[in-house]
């Protein structure tokens, strides 16, 4: 009897939920906004699906019904990836500790 590959993916999924649960609980509350922007950026890894979809066309017709949706998804996900990571970087750069010499 063979195990359906779906079960493997489901296992990965469930275990990742648990990993996410424990990792996110340890995030300090003051960084909850960067947490949201970085999760936003990483969920845009959906772009890998978009890239595969956009290459559904052939050399003769790059744009067909299916690939157009792929290209649109690439643009949306790319906005999110670059925007999400950069804005997170910008926010995190602002978090500073008290300077000892200043006081």
């Amino acid at each position: 009897m063979e195990i359906d590959p779906f079960i493997f993916r489901l296992s990965i999924f469930i275990l990742s939920i648990f990993v996410g649960y424990y990792v996110v609980w340890s995030v300090t509350p003051s960084l909850h906004t960067p947490l949201m922007s970085v999760t936003n950026a990483i969920s845009s890894v959906i772009i890998v699906g978009a890239i595969i979809a956009s290459l559904a066309g052939t050399n003769l017709s790059v744009f067909n019904q299916s690939s157009i949706f792929g290209f649109l998804a690439i643009v949306l996900a790319a906005i999110n990836i670059f925007g999400g990571f950069l804005v997170t970087q910008r926010m995190l750069a602002m978090y500073k500790k008290k300077k000892k010499d200043k006081k």
Binding site: T28, I47, G49, F69, I79, I81
Partner: protein, 465 residues
């Protein structure tokens, strides 16, 4: 071209890097490194996807082109956006993830052979269900986030929009989604697929309109969670580990944040989702209280009080964000420190419009993060503090939450501001806060109301220090 197994391993590596990215956020010191891990993870995922493509058709050039277009738009937004606009930016980004999920699902439905999911009209059943879930959740995320964005941006009224039969309508729509998915699986007709997407858009819309402005922290976190589940749904369809891991991470992250926000308001998740909180029906005890005396003062009084205090706790809220008062506040604190006053900041979990909103604004104004404390850390200090300076917060300081079981906010954890020797409350008028109830604090003997715009009042105080 690299083999499918190698590809899967690289996706796993980027999944792990994403976990490390979130792990880094456990402290500000490690957070920047964490973000770098996230970027590397994303770069690996995109690169290996390119390498997995065997025919470099001319379509490939377009992929790069569109990637750069989107990337430059994103980078432009990221550099230009003011920190006060962060809640609507995050809502906007959520909507893009949702829509991207819908587009990928549509593409997979039209050309399943590209993704090895069978052929058009004969898609594998499991894939069809996964893709329906991805598309439906993605569509809900998209339209829900658009409404949240409009409300946060002020382009749409922040007050809840309710009508009779709202919940029944939502229930009917939810049932129809399940029925549609069932029929879609039976005969794979594109009509069912399109109707499913349209109806899901409607759900997102209907789900968010009854939720008021101050409940937005819950809504944003919830939509964050949805965008994760949508990505996971697509991940199952495409059999892609990176997407499944990321989707699960983001989904559980958003769910935890929603839980923390609900707890910060002592309300159940369903209570928030069903909406309508803070409507007009809570005017009961208002009239009797309007007669009470209120002490009001000016910037001079406030400056005098704070200058002579030995410790001051600042309680910022959404009003500070609206008035953009964080920089003025920081200047005020600087001159207080020169006078030898000990200053710290107290942040309520639901202050502002998104989790951690106040912390980002204070960080922007160069407030060191080790002067900023969470509710549990600082609440006992109010009893020993001379002045509490409440700027733009209201309901989160209301002592009624501890004393009056009839109050809609009873049981909500609040900052014990009233325990400090004197309270300076910056507010434009005596109007009630979001919960629609009067704040008992206004009428206390130790409260001095400062009726003005938060930024202007703070600037005036600086002049008087």
């Amino acid at each position: 071209m690299i083999s499918a197994n190698l590809l899967a391993i690289f996706y796993l590596i980027s999944g792990i890097l994403f976990i490390l990215a979130l792990r880094g956020l456990s402290s500000p010191e490690t957070s920047r490194q964490g973000n770098l891990f996230g970027i590397i993870g994303m770069a690996i995922a995109i690169t290996v996807t390119f390498l997995s493509i065997d025919n470099f058709s001319s379509g490939f050039l377009y992929v790069i082109l569109f990637l750069l277009i989107g990337g430059s738009i994103g980078a432009f937004i990221a550099f230009k956006i003011p920190m006060t606009a962060m809640p609507e930016l995050v809502a906007g980004f959520h909507s893009l993830v949702g829509l991207a999920a819908v587009f990928v699902a549509i593409s997979a439905f039209i050309s399943p052979e590209v993704f090895n999911l069978g052929s058009s009209g004969n898609i594998k059943l499991a894939s069809l269900i996964e893709m329906s879930i991805g598309a439906a959740v993605g569509a809900i995320t998209f339209s829900g986030s658009i409404i949240a964005f409009l409300k946060l941006r002020g382009l749409m009224s922040g007050s809840p929009i309710t009508f009779t039969g709202q919940h029944i309508l939502n229930l009917l729509i939810l049932i129809s989604i399940i029925v549609l998915t069932y029929f879609l699986c039976l005969n794979q007709s594109p009509n069912f697929f399109w109707s499913l997407i349209v109806i899901s858009f409607l759900v997102g819309f209907l789900l968010i309109i009854p939720i008021g402005g101050a409940d937005m922290p819950v809504v944003i976190s919830m939509l964050n969670s949805y965008s994760g589940w949508a990505a996971a749904g697509i991940g199952f369809t495409l059999e892609n580990t990176a997407l499944i891991i990321t989707g699960a991470l983001v989904g559980s992250s958003g769910a935890i944040l929603s839980y923390i926000m609900c707890k910060g308001m002592n309300r159940s998740f369903f209570n928030v989702i069903l909406g309508g909180f803070g409507g007009t029906d809570q005017t009961s005890s208002k009239t009797s209280k309007e007669q009470k005396p209120v002490k009001s003062g000016n910037a001079d009084d406030a400056a005098f009080l704070m200058k002579n205090a030995s410790s001051v706790i600042i309680v910022p809220g959404y009003g500070m964000a609206v008035a953009q008062a964080q920089h003025a506040l920081r200047e005020m604190v600087d001159s207080l420190k020169k006078n030898g006053v000990k200053v710290s900041y107290a942040i309520h979990p639901v202050a502002g419009r998104m989790p951690g909103h106040m912390n980002v604004l204070l960080a922007e104004a160069n407030v060191p993060y080790d002067e900023v404390f969470e509710l549990e850390e600082i609440n006992n200090d109010f009893a020993n503090c001379d002045v509490a300076y409440v700027i733009g917060a209201n309901d989160v300081t209301n002592p009624v939450a501890k004393t009056d079981p009839q109050s809609p906010i009873y049981g909500m954890p609040v900052l014990d501001v009233e325990k400090s020797k004197s309270v300076l409350f910056v507010k434009r008028s005596l109007s009630p806060g979001y919960a629609g109830i009067d704040n008992d604090l206004f009428y206390r003997d130790n409260t001095l109301m400062l009726f003005a715009d938060a930024k202007k009042m703070t600037e005036d105080i600086i002049k008087n220090l």
